[in-house]
């Protein structure tokens, strides 16, 4: 370490784990349904893909968590996205391949990926 700039750069790189330990009130939350139905339908690879994608982009204001069964087992894996102040969005029949698009489009871009939502399935 030869300068303060170097120290600051290192700090920024190391912050992702610490962000996890901050108060989560104003963060975007991504909850993956991880009840028996969700796990059986392949929720775990979806969850890890979200974690990886968010780490890759260095997003500090996003939390990835698990939730239980919300009663639509036929649509699992189900993923709910909560942006503070907005209505929740429910994505269904998720796969790891779809994750990147949700993160780039919805989490970063703010545009809901309509084609993966529960609305497009039931319509």
């Amino acid at each position: 370490m030869k300068s303060l700039e170097e120290l600051k750069a290192l700090r920024d790189k190391l912050q992702s784990d610490m962000a996890l330990r901050e108060d989560g009130e104003d963060k975007i939350k991504i909850l993956v349904g991880m009840a028996t139905c969700g796990i059986a339908a392949g929720a775990r690879p979806v969850l890890t893909e979200f974690v990886d994608e968010i780490a890759k982009r260095g997003l500090r204001n996003v939390q990835v968590g698990q939730t239980g069964c919300i009663g639509i087992c036929q649509y699992e894996p189900v993923v709910e996205v909560f942006v503070p102040g907005l209505e929740k969005v429910t994505y269904v029949k998720m796969t790891p391949d779809k994750v990147a698009k949700v993160v780039s489009g919805h989490i970063v871009g703010g545009a809901i990926v309509q084609e993966y939502t529960i609305g497009s399935e039931t319509a």
Partner: protein, 595 residues
């Protein structure tokens, strides 16, 4: 990146209650469920709530689990970490909020606290410099080296109003200014981690939970006064603190944050640990510095003050661990930020080790000016078993007690002095109606008699004579005359002792005599101990009308002092009775009474 962090306290308190096996069980469970890439277990420093240890906190939810066993840890993995279901039965129960809470900041224990010195304890892994850097670690050192002259650093500390947290409360900035002004080719920065007061463990917790904060602050101090070498004097009885500090120093050296040309500034500073053998007197600054030099730890007269002639006769500053822990924050956020907290003459916060008759034993940090009532009743959760609060002892063997009628006095350096106690390093021992104040004074005096180094006679002989008088009082052999003698002796020892140990040793006696004189008089004139503590003044009797003759007391009596036929009232032979109290505990009918 991980989706969840599981923080487990690895401080001395939680280690003693079994956190190592909890960590093992968590890691085994995580491996069994294949969660290694998603969940990380982090060993941290003290969360403060030692009473409820081992403490486990799971983020991002911030779920606060208490008294976790290795079996509970398995459940946390299979329920919370695997399925996302918080384990309700293990959550910290906040009595005042009525039921379990999952978040730290909501609890009565944390709500009134303000964590500055303890900011990273229980948040980061103290054995990983990366985590300290991630929470702005070493930024203050960088800021001082690149934006401030040494004089400006000293000025910031002066303006902040920070006073020494080791007990006496001398303004830290002034100390630095004197040392900076001293001529000398070599200077030293020392840290006093020789925490020896019975019941105090603030400094240990800071070193265990956030060792880099102390290292960073000492480097800043080195820059401010022109020193290139520092010593941390820490007692060998703190193995976890010593080990983590050693790891932290090695990591800081590896990263170039200690050593030559730090952050390209040209300034060089390095640190070494000196282990103390546990003599209380080595917490006194001149004795401590003598011990660093490798000689017998005995105090010497001042002046010359350490700022002129300290370690190896060179200009030296010596600050306490908690004092240093505040420094990086003050440099980062400014003197004004720090001085906005606290009272007029006592700025910032103070860490207290809460112990004795209190529900939440542990470590708390509060803004100066918080009342004792808030600490005891709100943060501490009150006195257990519905007993009445009688007094709190602060400052250990150098301090005094705060009686119940002063419970609303805002705590700061000057207020505590005014009511005959002192801030001390921050031990706060709560006492209830079952504590005898004469016995408390005797306890602390026994400690100082043991720990007196013997160099000066007022302390060596004076404290022993005082203890003899106290022993006479508690054994019922004293005259009223002794009370006046004791008081006179107190003033002589105070005035004439060489160092702080002797000068403050009479404080526990003086303050208990000031507020609880009636208890002293009861011991002397009535030969009774009102709290029922002093054994030689006690007698046990069995109430014939309550005794059913079950024989339980007879069975447990180790001295065979109890006799009586089955189903008939028993009696105690006072000549044989050793006053152990076993019969009182054993009796289910409250027939055995103490008087």
């Amino acid at each position: 990146m991980y989706r969840a962090n599981v923080l487990v306290c690895g401080g001395t308190g939680c280690t003693a209650s079994g956190s190592a096996s909890v960590i093992e069980s968590l890691n085994a469970g995580i491996a069994a469920h294949g969660l290694e890439k998603e969940v990380r277990v982090v060993t941290t420093g003290c969360f403060g709530l030692c009473e409820k240890g081992p403490i486990v906190v799971v983020y991002p939810e911030g779920a606060f689990y208490q008294s976790v066993t290795a079996d509970d840890a398995k459940e946390i993995v299979s329920e919370h970490l695997l399925k996302g279901r918080i384990v309700g039965r293990l959550l910290y129960q906040d009595e005042t909020a009525g039921g379990g809470v999952s978040s730290l900041s909501e609890t009565a224990f944390y709500k009134k606290q303000l964590r500055v010195a303890l900011r990273n304890c229980g948040i980061i892994d103290p054995e990983d410099i990366g985590e300290y850097i991630a929470v702005d670690g070493y930024q203050a050192l960088g800021k001082a080296l690149t934006e401030y002259t040494p004089e400006q650093v000293v000025q910031v500390i002066i303006d902040s109003g920070l006073r020494g947290r080791g007990g006496a409360g001398f303004p830290t900035g002034l100390k630095w200014k004197f040392a900076a002004a001293s001529e000398g080719d070599e200077k030293y920065v020392c840290c006093n981690a020789d925490e020896g007061d019975p019941g105090a463990f603030m400094d240990r917790s800071v070193l265990e939970g956030d060792p880099h904060a102390v290292i960073e602050a000492m480097a800043i101090a080195g820059y401010a006064i022109g020193a290139r070498q520092g010593y941390v004097y820490v007692r060998a009885e703190y193995p976890i603190a010593v080990r983590r500090l050693g790891i932290a120093i090695d990591q800081a050296r590896e990263m170039g944050l200690l050593g030559e040309d730090i952050l390209g500034s040209g300034f060089g500073f390095d640190l070494d640990i000196r282990l103390g053998a546990g003599a209380f007197v080595c917490g006194e600054e001149t004795a401590l510095m003598t011990s660093i030099e490798g000689r017998r730890g005995e105090p010497r007269p001042r002046p010359p003050f350490p700022a002129k002639e300290g370690v190896f006769g060179k200009p030296t500053i010596l600050n306490n661990v908690e004092t240093y822990a505040n420094i990086p924050r003050i440099i980062m956020l400014g003197a004004e930020w720090f001085s906005s907290m606290g009272t007029e003459k006592s700025k910032g916060t103070k860490v207290f080790a809460l112990g004795g008759k209190i529900n939440n034993t542990g470590l708390v940090e509060i803004p100066m000016g918080t009342t004792l009532r808030e600490i005891v009743e709100e943060i501490g959760g009150g006195v257990p078993n519905g007993k009445k609060f009688k007094a709190a002892q602060t400052g250990g063997p150098s301090g005094g007690c705060i009686p119940a009628e002063k419970i609303d006095v805002p705590i700061d350096y000057d207020n505590l002095l005014a009511i005959g106690s002192m801030m001390g390093s921050g031990g706060l021992i709560v006492m209830d109606e079952d504590n005898c104040m004469v016995d408390i004074a005797k306890f602390f005096l026994e400690f100082t008699v043991d720990e007196s180094c013997g160099k000066c006679s007022p302390c060596r002989i004076g404290t022993r004579r005082m203890l003899e008088i106290l022993t006479r009082i508690t054994s019922g052999n004293a005259e009223m005359d002794d009370l006046a003698k004791l008081e006179e002796l107190c003033y002589h020892v105070k005035m004439n002792s060489l160092c702080g140990l002797g000068q403050t040793a009479p404080n526990p006696v003086l303050s208990t005599m000031r507020y609880f004189k009636d208890e002293y008089i009861a011991h002397i004139e009535d030969k009774t101990c009102p709290a029922g503590v002093c054994k030689e003044l006690l007698s046990y009797t069995i109430l014939a009308d309550k005794c059913i003759g079950c024989g339980m007391c007879r069975k447990v009596c180790p001295a065979e002092a109890i006799s009586g036929e089955r189903k008939e009232a028993h009696s105690i032979d006072t000549n044989k009775c050793v006053k152990c109290g076993a019969c009182e505990t054993a009796c289910k009918f409250k027939a055995v009474v103490r008087a």
